[in-house]
């Protein structure tokens, strides 16, 4: 059986997708998969996924399009300067709401659904105990079925893996 090891280090809604998409797909292809969640990646295993937000600030690669209205309106790319984005309260919340609508419009799964599919497919979740303590989290903040470990445990699996990704 091939093995895939992923280190998930990002804690935003957009960066939540790559680890869960790759892990669930690899599991469907017959891989044994482990994800090691560390630093901001811990946000991806919190029970409450509403903590995941997307920030367009300082991200010139992110198209800013509206997920509703007539086609001409939806096609507009809103180039809002960083200095304005940074000074509007709730800008990330607004961007996150629009992103979630775009995700739903495109038939893309929610993070909670993808995560459930990973766990159903026996993708193993490891969380970095050091960063859990560093950020003041409790184990009860996270979904069930996680092993709380250190770097050495990750290498036990990653060292034998066919593919190892740092995301």
């Amino acid at each position: 059986m091939k093995k895939l090891a992923i280190i998930a280090t990002k804690g935003t809604l957009d960066w939540a997708y790559p680890p869960y998409i790759l892990a669930s797909t690899a599991a469907a292809l017959g891989y044994e998969v482990q994800i090691f969640f560390t630093f901001y990646g811990l946000q991806l295993v919190r029970k409450d996924t509403s903590c995941l937000k997307v920030s367009p600030l300082g991200n010139p690669g992110m198209p800013m399009k509206m997920p509703f209205g007539p086609k001409w309106f939806r096609d507009i790319n809103w180039n809002i300067p960083n200095i304005i984005q940074a000074n509007i309260p709730g800008f990330e919340t607004l961007a996150t709401a629009l992103m979630k609508q775009t995700i739903a419009n495109n038939g893309v799964a929610t993070i909670a659904d993808l995560r459930d599919m990973c766990q159903e497919a026996e993708v193993k979740f490891l969380a970095c105990q050091m960063t859990v303590e560093l950020f003041g989290f409790e184990h009860s903040d996270f979904v069930d079925g996680i092993d709380y470990v250190g770097a050495a445990s990750f290498f036990e699996f990653a060292g034998e893996s066919d593919i190892c990704l740092y995301i």
């Binding site: 998409i21 669930s24 797909t25 469907a28 292809l29 017959g30 495109n106 038939g107 893309v108 799964a109 599919m117 497919a121």
Partner: protein, 75 residues
């Protein structure tokens, strides 16, 4: 073509058509055939890749009016 089970993955995007296919195949016996309908253009190459890597046989892959139809025989 005859089939034993049908999966409608219309409107779903990557990786859902593949994940649902995997799940549907799990409910079939060896040699049984699953029909999948999808609208994701990426699913054409993905179904081939899925079949190649899992050993299930992709009997046919066709396109009709914006819909993609696959017949997959379980290993």
């Amino acid at each position: 073509m005859n089939f034993d089970k049908e999966l409608d993955a219309s409107g779903l995007n990557c990786p859902l058509p593949i994940l649902r296919t995997k799940k549907a195949l799990a409910e079939l016996g060896a040699g049984q055939v699953l029909k999948v309908v999808a609208t994701d253009p990426g699913s054409v190459k993905d179904m081939q890749a899925f079949a190649k890597q899992t050993g299930n046989e992709l009997l046919s892959s066709t396109q009709e009016g914006g819909k993609y139809q696959f017949f997959m025989k379980k290993k």
